[in-house]
């Protein structure tokens, strides 16, 4: 499968990743090469093979619905780029 710079731009948007326009052709080339590598999977018929999502085929463990954590908001927000009054600041999203 071959991707072009325009497709790279579309995927980059989905991934919320800024890619410089001049870098897009190189990403397109590398991504196409990776997808060619991955295409080797198609040589094998996997009809009826159960997909394996987890190495130990475990069930999700559940715990009792008890409070186990205390609030550490100030501690965690101390490393945030911008906060105010206990809130994380981002550019205005609602006009």
């Amino acid at each position: 499968m071959s991707l072009g710079p325009a497709e790279v731009a579309k995927i980059a948007h989905l991934a919320r990743l800024a890619i410089h326009e001049q870098d897009a052709p190189a990403y397109a080339r590398n991504l196409s090469a990776i997808l060619d590598l991955v295409a080797q999977m198609n040589a094998v018929d996997t009809t009826g093979v159960a997909p394996m999502a987890h190495p130990l085929d475990m069930a999700q463990r559940l715990r009792a619905d008890d409070v186990t954590e205390s609030s550490q908001r100030d501690h965690f927000q101390a490393i945030a780029p911008r906060t105010e009054a206990g809130l994380y600041l981002v550019p205005k999203v609602i006009e």
Partner: protein, 484 residues
Amino acid sequence: MHDKTIAQLGAGLAAGEFSSEELVRAFLDRIARHNPQLNAFITVTVESALAQARAADQRRQRGEAGPLLGVPIAHKDIFCTDGVRTSCGSRILDRFIAPYNATVVEKLNAAGAVMLGKTNMDEFAMGSSNETSFYGPVRNPWDLEAVPGGSSGGSAAAVAAWLTAGATGTDTGGSIRQPAALCGVTGIKPTYGRVSRWGMIAYASSLDQGGPMARTAEDCALLLGALAGFDPRDSTSVDRPVPDYVAALDRPLDGLKIGLPKEYFGEGLDGEVARVVESAIAEYRKLGAETVEISLPNSQLAIPAYYVIAPAECSSNLARFDGVRYGHRCENPKDLLDLYTRSRGEGFGAEVKRRILVGTFALSAGYYDAYYLKAQQIRRLISDDFRRAFERVDVIAGPTSPTVAFNLGEKVDDPITMYLSDIYTIAVNLAGLPGLSLPVGFVGQRPVGLQLIGDYFAEDRLLNVAHRYQQVTDWHQRAPAAFA
């Protein structure tokens, strides 16, 4: 003191030959002298190391004992360390001071080990040469022109150059075993779920597993004994007792059945590496083991399946780095989208971006079945290959990496060639099995590793098989001349 193993250091501390503070000062001096050349550490925690050493000495004075009490170790910079920068080798976390300790860090703290610092790594553990680190590449102590392997390249180089007695690493597709091989040290990737992932920055959650790196299998056994165990904070942690790995080390190898996968000795394997690996296998026959040829017929599909599954999981995991709650944030974002895209675009390096893009594509509408579902089916086939093999043999042996360490810069512009360095290690992660690499010789001055693969939770057997070899050989005792 620096040339001793963890087992020897523990004995010396217990006998009062030296204090932990003396020991830690000696290692910190070595780091100050050699790290500028190797770049194995991103952060050296001088003050807290000395404080931990003094605390360990006090614990010993109060009558406490333990094989790791006062022993210097280093953590890969992927493990969160409370109050200490945890960069994951990335610009996006360059100024990230972790607000809590990973379980792995807590466990080694509880055992009294002393953290010397945080080791360099490929950015977000994505790489096989340590060249994707924001902090620059690590050099291989055996040959400064060579890469140390990756992604745990800083840990491997630090152990190989005797800048630390042991270190933690993580392994998603070979990131403990391949650098261990390329730097001539011993490292074990445990069974998935054996060591807690809590506080270990996630790359591909169904594959990631932490483990120890040290000079000997005995040292890895000591470290793994402290690291392994159930953690309720990691939902994939396995609730199963931790065996006494040290007690199992001396078991004789008579009658041990070693499987040699024919796919691991074919095209792509360097001829000189093959010769070294075959002589190690001959040594195992002398130790009483029996070798049988086996087949892992889907081996060639491991890399293709991995480069769907790992990027897919990474694209999801790395979505958390958004410039809002922690990590790098771009200047003057014009709106929320700009904040996300530019913070991430500036913060991530090229290889991380490639994998996020591949993963995003593979999971996008219309492609999910062809890529992600297909890769998960292939994963099942690979896992079944191993299951069948372990009906016939006790362990599987082969080369850890198809070549010795390559030169810095040699593969950095060609991702596909770089990915092939992990051709023998990746299937083990897909299956979730334990794997170990130990040094078994050299090609020129560059080390060769032998990989041992075990059945689920057979870490004790792998460490035993490696230890018996190290009782009759001295590869693990060699040191690079410049760092002896």
